[in-house]
Amino acid sequence: MLLLSACSSVAPQYFTLGTPELSSVANQHQSITSIGVARIRLPSLLDRQGMVLRKDNFSVAVSEQYQWAGVLREEFNESLVSGLQAALPSTRVQVAPWQLEQTPQYYLTVSVLAFDGAPQAQAKLRGSWQLLQGSSGRLVKAGTMSFSRAVAGKEVKDVVQVQNQLIGDLIRHVLAALP
């Protein structure tokens, strides 16, 4: 793939998701000392270097020109973690993996089913999430997520911006479910 991309004539552009903008809700969740983000699960459709842009309900396009800077999963993870930290500044936010002794009080697992968009169309984030207790692994709360926002711009970077906002939506949704 690398060779093929090298052979291609167009230089690719790289994108990253960035931190979603969230306000702090620390006072609401003071009892939570630590929260962890376990491995995000992404569909294999998205597990590729090139960005996936949706053409219509049944077709997507994979771009060679527009690529994620890192691995999408890691980007998503990073975005989620930094968003959570922004929302809960006093809580220790941990990224998987962690040692047994450092198991956080709660941890979140996210399973993404769809995370794509297109310029001048909708950007969607769909999937499910689970909040589990760290010490016992017991399920505290589970839920589905389905967010979509309109993409105003014509560029791919606008899509990425909206995707960032979608992640912010997810975090807010999860925070609402925290005990």
Binding site: L4, C7, S8, R39, S44, Q65, W98, Q99, T103, G137
Partner: protein
């Protein structure tokens, strides 16, 4: 050119041809003469080579080909098989034609055998016969005798197997006695400091001792290391020893691992100026290094011991120990039941090596020595060797407080005095106490049940009630009497007073009697109660005693148990530690798990990428050169 003149006619020119008589025959006859001489010479030579013809009985003629199979001695051809027939017993009878040179040393003691491929012990012999065909090997026993004049001699019987030959290199032979061959065989190497210095050349079962006698051959110059203190032991396989100190593994060499081996050593402190053992000296073969190093004393004394109680846990070869040091072993335990009197005795035969008490003790003085020990109070006891397995051993101990005893003469062996084991005593005591308690309690119950107490109490009650009534009546009587007295004081005082006196006197007497009865009842009650308490005291006293002794032994057991439980604890702790470690490793979201999942994902992604590449190439083979076509923005 003749010109008519006939030269022949002139007789004068003709030479006179000489005529001579041939005296010798034509020299051409030398040829047949030479031929004849050659033939004759060959014949004579063949005849000279011709040796003797002998017939040998063979157990089996396998591999013997008449006219072809050769007879060899020390790998030199010395003859050939002429024919194979059967003898009277339908055993093969083989006729051999042997050379002249070997016939000179042949006599009836020569041995013959068939050489075929054989695998035996350390040696695979006769492999060459796979290629060259089997041959008959022979070994003339004597080199100086001649065969008697008869051409065909039928005094030979072939051997089943090639005879064991003493190696022809310099060295010396010795004999080793062992209980069983184990993995030893002819050819098994003998090691000294892990150098092979000899081998076993033969073995046989010794008829008198029931042991196997090994003939070994030790090379020059190693046989000079052998003197009467040398110890031989079996180093076959691997010697693994695990005990409280640790584990020990010994192995002599790979050869000995496969085919067995014998090693020897001469204890260093004792080998100065001891003469080298002569040929065929007999040594003992010990089963392993440790037992060879133990001091072995030849002298033994045998005693019979009689124990009461169960001998469970006592096995033959259990040690006899004195102060914890092994001085002998249990040889035999046999149940002896007298069918008439149904008397059960279990004599235990032990052997004691008196030199373990004192090295300088001689066998003659030993019985006296043991007797004096017994006078000092030495007794044999059954002691617990291992609480877990219940193994017992015989312990000798000097008991100052023992009843005086001596070694008694027994039917076969002397009887050594024994003292009962604490366990025995304890159980006896316990059963004794139990019996006492039972009888006392039974008596008490009987007493209670018989209703005598009730009756006594009833009687006492009655008596008391009666006394009460008597008392009230008496009171009444006294008041009446006072009244009457008052009345009579004035009237019939003197007569009445005397009657009153007698009445009071009899009343007091009656009261006395009543009190006496009450007293008696109380005393008897007291007495019986006291008796009961007395018994109970005694019982509790003995119980205390036995409990203290029990606690004593229990404490011992407790400390032992403590020790082992401490060990157990430690093991459990360690186990826990490893379990926690395992937990950490396998915990949800642990680094190990995470990395594992990552790796799986990578592998999947890679396989997908490879698939994509192949797909691309399939669709756009020119992509290799021109690059892929991108999607079009819509």
């Amino acid at each position: 050119m003749n010109s008519g003149n006939d030269p022949l006619s002139s007789q004068e020119n003709l030479a006179a041809v000489q005529v001579r008589r041939q005296r010798w025959p034509s020299p051409v006859w030398l040829l047949p003469l030479a031929a004849a001489l050659i033939g004759l010479w060959l014949l004579v030579q063949n005849w000279m080579q011709q040796g003797t013809i002998i017939t040998v009985h063979f157990p089996s003629a396998e591999g013997i080909d008449p006219g072809n199979t050769q007879v060899r001695y020390k790998a030199v051809n010395v003859g050939k098989v002429k024919s194979v027939k059967f003898d009277a017993n339908m055993d093969p009878l083989v006729t051999l034609a042997l050379n002249r040179d070997i016939s000179d040393v042949l006599d009836c003691s020569a041995q013959f055998w068939v050489v075929r491929p054989r695998i035996r012990g350390a040696e695979i012999s006769g492999i060459t016969t796979l290629f060259s065909g089997t041959y008959i090997g022979m070994l003339p026993q004597r080199v100086d005798s001649e065969l008697k004049e008869n051409e065909t001699s039928i005094c030979y019987q072939a051997l089943e197997e090639p005879p064991a030959t003493k190696p022809s290199r310099p060295g010396r032979e010795f004999k080793l006695m062992t209980d069983s061959m184990g993995s030893l065989d002819i050819g098994t190497p003998i090691f000294y400091k892990q150098l092979q210095v000899g081998e076993i050349i033969n073995y046989r079962l010794s008829a008198d001792s029931g042991q196997v006698e090994l003939h070994i051959f030790v090379d020059e110059p190693y046989y000079r290391l052998i003197n009467k203190n040398t110890r031989f032991w079996d180093v076959s396989g691997i010697d693994v020893r695990v005990d409280s100190v640790g584990a020990e593994v010994r192995m002599e060499s790979l050869t000995s691992l496969l085919i067995g081996g014998i090693a020897f050593e001469t204890p260093p402190e004792q080998n100065q100026s001891l003469p080298v053992s002569p040929s065929n000296t007999v040594f003992n073969l010990y089963p392993d290094l440790t037992s060879s190093r133990e001091k072995h004393y030849q002298d033994r004394l045998y005693y019979t011991l009689y124990f009461n109680g169960s001998l469970r846990g006592l096995a033959e070869k259990a040690p006899v120990e004195f102060q914890g040091i092994r001085v002998g072993q249990v040889e035999k335990i046999k149940l002896h039941l007298d069918p008439k009197s149904l008397d059960v005795r279990i004599p235990v035969l032990i052997s004691i090596e008196p030199q373990r008490f004192s090295e300088e003790l001689k066998l003659a003085e030993a019985p006296q020595f043991m007797e004096s020990l017994v006078k000092r109070g030495m007794r044999a006891k059954l002691e617990n060797g291992n609480l877990l397995t219940g193994q017992m051993f015989v312990g000798l101990s000097l008991d100052e407080k023992a009843k005086p005893d001596s070694i008694a003469k027994g039917q076969f062996y002397d009887v050594f005095p024994t003292s009962p084991t604490p366990v025995e005593e304890l159980s006896k005591m316990a059963s004794g106490i139990a019996d006492d308690l039972k009888s006392t309690l039974g008596g008490v119950r009987q007493f209670m049940e018989s209703g005598q107490l009730d009756k006594t109490v009833e009687n006492a009650n009655k008596v008391l009630v009666a006394t009460e009534t008597t008392m009230t009546e008496a009171k009444q009587a006294v008041t009446d009497a006072r009244l009457i007295l008052q009345q009579l004081q004035t009237n019939t005082l003197p007569g009445v007073s005397s009657n009153l006196e007698t009445a009071t006197a009899s009343l007091t007497r009656a009261l006395d009697q009543v009190s006496a009865n009450v007293d008696k009842v109380s005393t008897t009650l007291d007495g019986s109660l006291k008796a009961v308490t007395g018994d109970l005291d005694k019982v509790s006293g003995t119980l205390n005693q036995s409990l203290t002794s029990l606690t004593g032994t229990a404490k011992q057991a407790g400390t032992d148990f403590n020790r082992s439980s401490v060990e157990f604890d430690k093991t459990v702790q360690r186990l826990q530690g490893s379990l926690t470690h395992l937990d950490r490793l396998l915990a949800q979201n642990s680094p190990t798990q995470y990395q594992l999942t990552e790796m799986m994902d990578e592998v999947t992604a890679m396989s997908r990428a490879v698939r994509a590449l192949t797909e691309t190439l399939q669709r756009q083979p020119e992509a290799l050169i021109r690059g892929k076509k991108d999607w079009e923005e819509h």
